[in-house]
């Protein structure tokens, strides 16, 4: 049986030629994402702003959103945010919690469910979430804390295992990935809740997998081909790992795509964000995570044990044309 090769053998693309363009693109996209978050803001779920959210499923024809909005408005809990779930006949209805006494908030939940059931007798209320303002503040804090610490912790690990330039590169890449994902949430106005933070953390973890695979190969090649110029060496490393990058990306896209299409709508946003992260991760591995190493002057000396006499010479191995190491 002939096996499928997603990337032909001896692929040799000069990725670093586009490094200026790629860096510009990345800076541009990060700037756009930050601007989007600043201007449009994120559509925070009750986890982060407090309030209550009820999931309503219509067993028959779903009434127009405006009608739902109007009827929910009549319940007297203020303006409701109504959002459709995937392609289903389900919506999430979100309202603020009344100020004041805690028991008022408790009653408001029952009031909302009862009001919806009265307005739409055929609708089923699936799940109710109520989060008070104080708890939501804590959730924001713990969410941001776990994200920030994960990024810092990972960068430190890479700095220790590789060299500081790689740590900086990884940090830059993580910032890139996280900003762009925030940009995605701002532009689509998908609900941003605790699950989204988990998705972000997953993107961070996944993109690190990619970074490490490429960086590991660079480290290996730096030790192996000490006389090689840095740019061809980076190109070589990316090309050597390209088939792996493509294969893993395809596998992840397959898995997440299936989850997106067939999975429960509750994790739709979660999966969509991860899928987006996988695409950005692929782009970053190939085009974005290496230019930093050029600027920070990673060179053949980076992984050579330093002696008092300077960089240790050792035996230099020339790369032969067939790529085999003698």
């Amino acid at each position: 049986m002939r096996l499928l090769k997603l990337v032909p053998d001896n692929t040799n693309i000069d990725f670093l030629r586009w490094r200026k363009f790629a860096s510009f693109m990345s800076f541009f996209l990060v700037a756009v994402s930050i601007a989007l978050v600043a201007v449009k803001g994120l559509n925070f779920g009750v986890d982060f702003v407090g309030g209550q959210s009820v999931r309503v499923e219509f067993t028959q024809e779903m009434p127009p959103i405006d009608e739902i909005r109007e009827k929910v408005g009549q319940i007297g809990l203020g303006e409701a945010t109504i959002q459709q779930f995937g392609s289903d006949k389900a919506v999430s209805i979100r309202t603020a919690l009344p100020e004041g006494d805690k028991t008022v908030a408790e009653r408001a939940g029952q009031q909302l469910v009862a009001g919806i059931q009265k307005a739409f007798p055929t609708a089923k209320t699936g799940s109710v979430e109520t989060v008070s303002g104080k708890v939501s503040e804590e959730l924001i804090r713990t969410g941001a804390l776990s994200l920030g610490l994960a990024i810092i912790g990972i960068s430190i690990y890479i700095w220790i295992r590789f060299e500081w330039q790689f740590g900086v590169g990884a940090l830059g890449r993580l910032f890139h990935e996280v900003s762009l994902t925030f940009g995605l949430f701002a532009v689509t106005q998908m609900q941003f809740d605790l699950n989204s933070v988990a998705a972000l953390l997953t993107i961070v973890g996944y993109s690190l997998n990619d970074t490490i695979v490429v960086y590991d190969r660079i480290r290996e090649n730096l030790k192996k081909y000490r006389k090689m110029e840095i740019i061809p060496l980076l190109n070589l490393s990316i090309n050597e790992t390209l088939s792996r990058t493509v294969m893993t990306t395809v596998a992840m896209v397959l898995a997440l795509g299936m989850l997106l299409i067939f999975g429960p709508d509750v994790i739709f946003g979660f999966t969509a964000a991860m899928l987006f992260g996988v695409f950005i991760g692929g782009y970053s591995s190939v085009l974005m995570s290496t230019p930093v190493l050029v600027w920070l002057k990673v060179g053949p000396g980076s992984f050579v044990p330093r002696t008092s006499a300077g960089i240790e010479g050792g035996e230099r191995i020339e790369r032969k044309d067939d790529g085999a190491v003698v």
Binding site: D9, G109, M258, L259
Partner: protein, 537 residues
């Protein structure tokens, strides 16, 4: 590569076998599960977002607790100054003031000041490890005693109240007859209540949110209704509002401050019906002390009215037609069967030492949960099959080994989760998918490396050997970073993030094992028996 010692093969086989054995109980139907021997009754719990149920986060009203603490101390002060040996033993005090964080009073006779302080000192208790007391007693202006709760005392009071509250809530939720509720303290002032498969969260909140402080107090017959409406009541009385929907038009009653009998003297409470009106009521029984008091008071007060007060609201205020002997009574009000039952449970389980409010609620109906599981399972299977097919098409025989590894990975994750009694939530399923991705990535790295080494002209054995050893470095680094991320998520994240992190951590460990060690075992076995000179990868 060929060198794969027998003991390793045996060890790995045992682990894989255990993985399958421990994951089986999670797949069998409930009936079969219950008939299994108890050692095998370990399975993955489904989170409330999957199985349906309610998650409530309750927060104690610490300010209210402090108030109660001060009020109790005020009583203690009065009692202590009254003395044990009759009127001669009394210490006259005055200007007793209770502020938000202290109690102060004047000792009229300065000679008794030290005695007063000693009596109070005997009422305080050690708190914390430093020998500190729970209250500090200071003498100011030579005649005034000031009592302030110490921080250790407050911490201790909160901890004590929270433990008691936890037990009481536990009794109440268990009285609902629900299956396997989880009630745990969280942090300083919170309690998490998780009840799987619950249909009516409102009833649950009603039940556990109630403080259930029950008091019987006399209605002050001397109070002038008009004066009372303007907020003026006789000394020793106060205005107490009716509970919502009670009182037949009246908004409040003027009640004597003195409590005739309180809920602490109850020995039983149950829902029943009023023989005359057939309305649901709560029947209660007092202990012997309570029965005596109740008989005495009611005998003296025939024709007068008394009020039943729950959590500071009047439920009803009937007339006493005849002395109530025998220590049982009925609490009437506009109850439904359910609300009467809830009140009975609350009264039976005792009053909460502190007011609790629901600050977070997440309820998923069982149907929605079942739907999510079904869809999640289908999507998971489709996703897995697609990825397995891809691996087969791209790597042939090595893809088959990778697939075997992946399937074992699934078993192992489930087995470990079952062994630790961990809970699988929706984000957990996503974490599951991610670790499958990581396992795939590990095999891709290895197989691509083997391809590369073959392309460089290596012999089969050497290429496979190098493929595994060279790829392992990147696999190790990549997975350590993910473990770092997952553990930070677990420590600092909350709720769904934690659930995700648990599965991710377990999955990373198992996926490295199956993707590297297990596939290696199969590959080594094949190479050793067949000794191929070329491989198709």
């Amino acid at each position: 590569m060929l060198d794969f010692p027998r003991w390793k093969t045996i060890g790995i086989s045992i682990i894989l076998l255990l993985g399958i054995l421990f994951s089986i109980p999670s797949f069998v139907p409930e009936k079969t599960f219950n008939s299994l021997p108890s050692i095998a009754q370990t399975k993955v719990n489904l989170g409330l977002d999957l199985a349906g149920g309610s998650h409530l986060l309750l927060e104690a009203d610490i300010a209210d607790l402090r108030k109660t603490q001060l009020a109790n101390m005020e009583k203690t002060v009065r009692a202590a100054m009254r003395g044990e040996r009759g009127p001669d033993d009394d210490i006259a005090i005055g200007e007793l003031r209770v502020a938000s964080n202290q109690i102060s009073f004047l000792v009229r006779d300065q000679a008794q000041l030290d005695d007063a302080r000693d009596r109070l000192f005997n009422e305080t208790q050690g708190a914390g490890l430093t020998g500190q007391r729970d209250w500090s007693i200071n003498i100011v202006d030579t005649t005034r005693i000031v009592l302030t709760p110490t921080s250790a005392g407050q911490t201790q009071a909160i901890a004590h109240a929270m433990d008691t509250a936890r037990d009481i809530i536990d009794r109440r939720v268990n009285a609902l007859g629900t299956r396997e509720p989880t009630i745990i303290r969280q942090g300083n002032d919170r309690i998490v209540v998780q009840v799987p498969g619950l249909q009516d969260p409102a009833a649950l909140k009603e039940l556990i949110g109630k403080t259930a402080r029950l008091e019987f107090r006399m209605v002050d017959a001397n109070a002038d209704p008009n004066e009372a409406a303007a907020g003026r009541v006789p000394v020793g009385s106060e205005i107490v509002p009716y509970a919502e929907g009670e009182g037949n038009g009246a908004a409040f009653e003027v009640l004597r401050r003195q409590v005739m009998i309180s809920g602490e003297q109850l020995i039983d409470a149950k829902q029943s019906y009023d023989p005359q009106s057939n309305q649901p009521v709560v029947s209660i029984r007092f202990d012997s002390g309570g029965s005596n008091t109740f008989a005495k008071v009611t005998a003296q007060s025939v024709g007068k009215r008394f009020a039943m007060v729950l959590d500071g609201k009047v439920l009803s205020a009937p007339s006493i037609n005849e002395p109530i002997l025998g220590g049982s009574a009925q609490i009437s009000g506009s109850f439904s069967v359910a609300s009467a039952n809830a009140l009975a449970i609350s009264l039976r389980s005792g009053a909460l030492p502190v007011k609790m409010a629901v600050v977070e609620e997440r309820t998923v109906t069982p149907e929605l949960g079942a739907d999510s599981i079904r869809k999640g399972a289908i999507a998971g299977i489709i996703a897995t099959v697609s990825v397995l097919t891809l691996m087969l098409v791209v790597y042939g025989r090595f893809g088959v080994y990778a697939c075997i590894g992946l399937v074992f990975n699934v078993f192992l994750i489930i087995a470990i989760m079952a062994a630790f009694n961990a809970t699988l939530t929706l984000p957990g399923i996503a974490g599951f998918v991610l670790t499958i991705g990581a396992a795939v990535d590990a095999n891709v790295l290895i197989n691509e490396r083997i391809r590369e080494e073959l392309a460089r002209g290596r012999k089969v054995f050497q290429a496979v050997e190098l493929g595994y050893s060279e790829a392992s470095r990147a696999i190790f680094d990549a997975n350590v970073t993910n473990v770092i991320a997952a553990s930070l998520m677990f420590w600092f994240g909350s709720g769904p993030i934690k659930g995700f992190a648990v599965v991710l951590t377990i999955g990373i460990v198992t996926s490295v094992f199956t993707a590297v060690t297990v596939t290696r075992m199969f590959v080594a076995h094949w190479l050793r028996t067949k000794r191929p000179t070329s491989i198709n990868i």
